[in-house]
Symmetry: D2
Subunit: 347 residues, 4 copies
């Protein structure tokens, strides 16, 4: 099959070609629960850029060359002998993690913390390719309203934004505020999820006017242009108290310190983006009684919930399509902030 | 009245006398809801050392000279015209915050985050004295089983430990683990609260053998002597996964980094002690999906809950009594780790 | 002042005049926290009909003659010596319960379960009058966007619907269903609150076509006309499983049995309306693991939350105005189902 | 193999022999995930008496003759081709439900509400036999501290008591009360679980002095002999308010009405036992704002949690052993209240 393969890290992202479009062997069914999916679309994620940079080397075991792509949807191509839940030809979206379902975390519904799992595109071959090897437990059948290439980015960008926004929505009450930092691929979904799941007023902060336009279309009640006056503006909008929840889709540069500053005493700072540092005196956590919440993608049931929102039109995903052979173009466009919403590679 | 008054900061805690035992004017009833309490005992807290060091100057408005002491219990001496809930002579313990009860936080039961409050001993005169000015809403009548001087430290050390341990107990399940860092004035209460409120296995870490003895008396299932092998030992006790909850009563030095390392993926790190820094890459919060929880004392109803535990003997407080005139001795003993449990000043 | 006074019970509601419009003494400030409100509007509630029927005689202590009216809003007319939170002339809405704030329930934010409270219009004189005696802790200042007579019914009809819908919204996930039984004075608000606080699909059941029209305007996704086929229709809409939550604003006749039948295994049946009976074998609760939840108005902070929704236009109240002297007309119109939304009496 | 087989219902439980001890065909592996367990012990449950009475006929599909026994533990005898989690010879305890793990309820950890499941001993052959057919997902490996015959009743009696007590423990605070109705096979475990998981005061009600002795051994703080004065006694113990939680392990006769009467306003009544009726006016649910919670066994992870408690000695099970051939004796002893704790059949 054809695939866009990563052969070398590029720590400064200065090269022209991050991946090589080439022929590789087709994946094969091994275990009875294995499933091969013909890719309809594979989302391009900032994490892919971080992988190219080599940031993930110390976090996961992965040997080059390999195929990135952890946001995948398509059609079932082939199934293992024990698969009961899907049939060849079914349109499906792939939960990013492949699990056996036996460990206690899975038994509690918390599959993201499975003891034993594979994460295609992160620690094994992913979906920048014509076919993907995954497992039965990862697949959700798509309703007719949703085409694979239109929903692929929900599996990671969408799901991560959904989970963080859902966590916040569980405690956000009418009359309260939530600040969303970054209205890009994840942020613009997070805003819609917040709008669907709670009645807090949504304040969106971004340095890009284009992103703030998208934020307003997605339902932001207030937008703040990133820059020197941003803290004052957020404080003014929140009557001097800060927001009960802050969801930080950036997580680098001064976003973290600002995100914590935007958070009201007793409030929650959800960290989703990464690349930067959390750096604060413990006394500040004590006197403010804030909570800092890490967020790692989302569970299979949460992806089902997100598909329910998408099916009813409560969440829409802005995508920009590229051919699989244009993977480098897509990665560069993402790197240089030229994508509105999410890039999707189509084989 | 007599009081132990703070006249100067001492950033290195190198002086002989931190406070001066002297005559000051008696407090007076101002508002209809004011109450004056004759002090039966005032706890001596590490925060008092931090105040002497000047750490709190930038956090709260306080002008020297003033009287420290935020852990107070005694007897009602005089009441304002509108006070209905207590009578002169009642033995009482004082919730550390004085609030009006009008703001939305108070109306939700979250009085620690009142918009408008006083914190005697922190931002106004406290209980290192014969009498204390407080408010009706701060007082809990004591049952006959509990003497003021024996319970005073519950109001802050006890309540803070209770709140953090209670938060953890809400999610700790049988078969899970909790690590307590530091078995001193707060920690030894936290251990007992955990024991009373959940069935997780309790692992206690401290550098002092005396503290670990106390931890075992309080119900610790496992103790770990602080030092180079502590991480390995905690990992071994938790079957390689780390603990679902870590409560850090130290919060300085390497306790923070170690505390986060002890925390299982998806788990909670409760920060109670302070003085140090939280310093970690955002990516570590993402891949681990940990949560960092700040803790600020506790609410009035939580102090009522803690008194119920004390009344039934489920929580016991180790105290060491000093005369009010010996306040400097008590502070020095605390500073040099010579107190088992909690020092209490008695006028 | 003028008031509409209840002198006699009428168990069959067959009389022409339930109340008598007459002169009564003005209320007077007694305690320092008392407040007298000049009534801008008083809502007319089905509970008032139940009071006339005498249903409440065994539930609360009340001696005739007295003044009904527990949904009140207006302007502060006079304040007691200790009142700090409102000034004469302030437009206010009245939380229905008058509490001292001292008991543990109040301290936990659960003021509806205060040990000691008054409920004007239920167990003491209410707002079918020119003036109402209430307490400082019951008052919420209104924003300019909201006129007293337009919001009075929020204090009970609105607040009760809000609390039940909020409880349900805490567990309702995208892809799940909620059935609302009854789209009258409470139901039409409940629908809007559900729409604002969660993304479940809302199915509304009512016997009246007019009520179902209102339900659709309020955001119902599906409407079902009450009658023989209603169970089949609800089961079909919920894919054969029933709804994860059912909110029953009727609570009499066959609504209860049907409401429980609409509830999915593991789901929640919220009972709000009353007059009928719950009658089922315990084995049905075991095999289905359903939960039956009673609902009693709502807390002060919940009324603040509801006002935030109203202020932003997320909840709208349909009202029909009557002069206070027309109280009997309003009660009869309610009794005979001739009111769309809620009747309000204006002095 | 040998088994104790149910051939006929006996609605009045008046016959001598409820089941027939006889030879039946051995179970066989069908699906790749099937497992055959050699029974070490099978608990005898009041539900078995209810099955004999025919109460369950309308609730589940079951054709006579069949084998009862839904509380099973033993050793793995044979495994299907796809089984990875256990090996032949492993000592195991069997979660009572056999599920595929594919439905959304299972994916959320709520396996008791699986769309598609088998319940051996209820709707398919159970463990009153030498061998049992179950599935890989139902098995938990036992630690060396726990012998199969000693723990079998945990799978239903224990698990059901655990789940109800755990639900209550999530909201019970120090200073609050829980009433346990019935200190038999389930109740005596419920008491120990409450003791392990919360610090509420435990009041146990039973008509049998022997049961109240067992209750005290299990950790009850107060015991009340069932009879005319029971309501007064419970009210006195709870300072006139009733208990924040009531767990009713009886669920028939006047237990339900009394259980609701014992429940404090705003409190929770957990119904576990069955046979009787819930019968109350809806207005009583409104004015009291009580919640009635149905309870159906427990999840696989909850059985793991319970085994953790048992392994640490925090929960102990009183059992009485019978040979499998003495099944009728055991059922009759249960019927006539002659068993302390739980009967277990041993092949």
């Amino acid at each position: 099959m054809k695939a866009a393969v990563l052969h070398n890290f590029d720590e400064t992202l200065s090269g022209a070609d991050f991946v090589r479009y080439e022929d590789v062997p087709d994946p094969r069914i091994g275990k009875p629960t294995d499933v091969i999916v013909r890719i309809g679309g594979a989302g391009v994620c900032r994490t892919d850029l971080h992988i190219v940079e080599g940031i993930w080397r110390s976090k996961v075991d992965v040997a080059l060359p390999y195929i990135m792509g952890h946001e995948n949807a398509g059609w079932v191509e082939e199934i293992g002998s024990g698969v009961e839940g899907v049939r060849v030809g079914d349109p499906v979206i792939c939960h990013p993690l492949v699990t056996s379902g036996h460990c206690l975390a899975c038994r509690r519904g918390d599959d993201m913390h499975a003891i034993d799992s594979k994460f295609p595109g992160i620690n094994t071959n992913g979906g920048y390719a014509e076919y993907l090897l995954t497992g039965e437990r990862s697949l959700i059948k798509l309703p007719k309203s949703l085409a694979p290439k239109a929903v692929a980015p929900y599996t990671d960008a969408g799901l991560t934004a959904y989970r963080a926004a859902k966590k916040a929505s569980r405690h956000l009450l009418p009359g309260e505020y939530v600040v969303v930092i970054g209205a890009g691929g994840l942020g613009h979904i997070g805003i819609q999820v917040l709008k669907a799941l709670c009645a807090a007023e949504i304040i969106v902060l971004d340095r890009s006017a284009m992103a703030l336009d998208l934020a307003r279309e997605c339902g932001a009640h207030h937008t703040v242009r990133g820059g020197p006056g941003e803290l004052d503006e957020v404080m003014k909008l929140t009557k001097g108290n800060g927001a009960e929840a802050v969801i930080d889709f950036v997580g680098e540069g001064d976003a973290v310190a600002q995100g914590l500053a935007f958070t009201r005493n007793g409030g929650y700072y959800y960290i989703v983006g990464y690349g930067g540092k959390i750096d604060l005196p413990t006394i500040d956590m004590i006197t403010s009684e804030k909570t800092i919440v890490g967020n790692l993608v989302g569970t299979y049931p949460e992806l089902v919930e997100l598909m329910a929102l998408a099916d009813r039109g409560l969440v829409k995903l802005a995508t920009q399509e590229y051919r699989l052979s244009q993977a480098n173009q897509a990665l560069h466009d993402l790197h240089h902030g030229r994508i509105k919403g999410r890039a999707v590679l189509i084989p």
